[in-house]
Subunit: 188 residues, 2 copies
DNA sequence: GTATATGTAGACCGATCACCATACAAGAGT
DNA sequence: ACTCTTGTATGGTGATCGGTCTACATATAC
């Protein structure tokens, strides 16, 4: 009851990294297998429904991780504005460190959704909604009750957009623009 | 000198539609061939460098189309704010009409960029920059000289984010949030 | 000690991938 | 008539795709 879960974890870790770099369809199963060191038999033991199940669990895992990251960024700040800045620049720094390669785990999978069943789309929706809620919670904590929902959606929307533009321009400047946009809503 | 270009055009049209729906790697060459009705030989005549060349020309074509769309939206409005609203809701309506399937042509290809050469990334950067410039031009026209560049980047960033969230939630509400964000920057 | 989970390991499958090779049709220039 | 360019049309290439299969190792349980 120790090693067995490690293989599954390694598979998800590899999938997460590769999906973020190359997208769902751009990443072959054998590539995931090579990267994780797991044989094909183990993969289909842990994920009997195949690649789509792996993607689903990858989304959920990554979703929880990012949610925790965002939450801790805001928790360590004494104002909502500082939280926005901290969370945004933390994500930007990570992204830059990966060579502008490892973008949003959700959108990397969400793209192909239309051609398959929409279980992946629903998981994506759930994860994104969760991120919005985390931010809205902190917005409320700092007195922006009426705006909290909109602020959460706005910030996630801006981060998603920044991920795209940042990859295209190979610069973290879009994250600064994203931050400015969210802060502009607070100040209005 | 008439029919020859029509085949190439149909190939690009099909590729554009399918890339937007399923992404670059999610779309097979044979699927593009079937959709366009063109035979394989014609494809490699018009695009001797293969799929990547097709993607590159698709990005540029789509980039020009969207730039024209944005420009005409702003041109028909007597204030920058109305232009933002018009452009955003026009794109949102199109997206909804496609069943929340045909997202941003650039990001659908940009995702896989890291694994191949970065010619596609450079084309994407160029197209996105062009969109920003179009918006910035109209911002200047309405008196936002000092903010014009930032407003252009902010709006494109917001639209990109809205495309992602809109697909996930199957709703055009993210585009309304995007509009609100851009307008908040104007009013600050 | 033997039966039963729990996993590992990789050969193998048909389908599809992007791509190439060859053949041919039609118009233009000479 | 002649080639030459422009472009259409098709069949086949090896490689890789996601997925299934059976065999085997390990470990806990009785």
């Amino acid at each position: 009851m120790e090693v067995q879960e490690k293989t599954k974890t390694r598979l998800i870790d590899s999938a997460l990294k590769l999906f973020r770099r190359q997208g769902y369809d751009g990443t072959g199963l054998t590539q995931i297998l090579n990267d994780s060191g797991a044989p094909k038999g183990s993969f289909y033991y842990h994920f009997p429904k195949g690649k789509e199940q792996l993607a689903d669990e990858t989304i959920r895992r990554a979703g929880a991780n990012v949610a925790t990251l965002i939450d801790s960024c805001f928790s360590g700040c004494d104002s909502f504005e500082k939280g926005v800045l901290t969370a945004s620049s933390t994500i930007a720094t990570w992204f830059k460190k990966s060579g502008y390669a490892e973008g949003c785990p959700v959108s990397s999978i969400l793209l192909r959704t239309m051609s398959s069943s929409d279980t992946l789309r629903k998981s994506s929706e759930l994860v994104l909604k969760n991120w919005c809620d985390v931010i809205a919670k902190h917005a409320r904590r700092h007195g922006f009750e009426s705006q909290s929902t909109e602020l959460g959606e706005a910030m996630i929307l801006a981060i998603e957009g920044a991920w795209v533009l940042s990859r295209a321009t190979q610069s973290i400047k879009p994250f600064e623009v994203a931050t400015a946009m969210v802060l502009a809503m607070v100040r209005k």
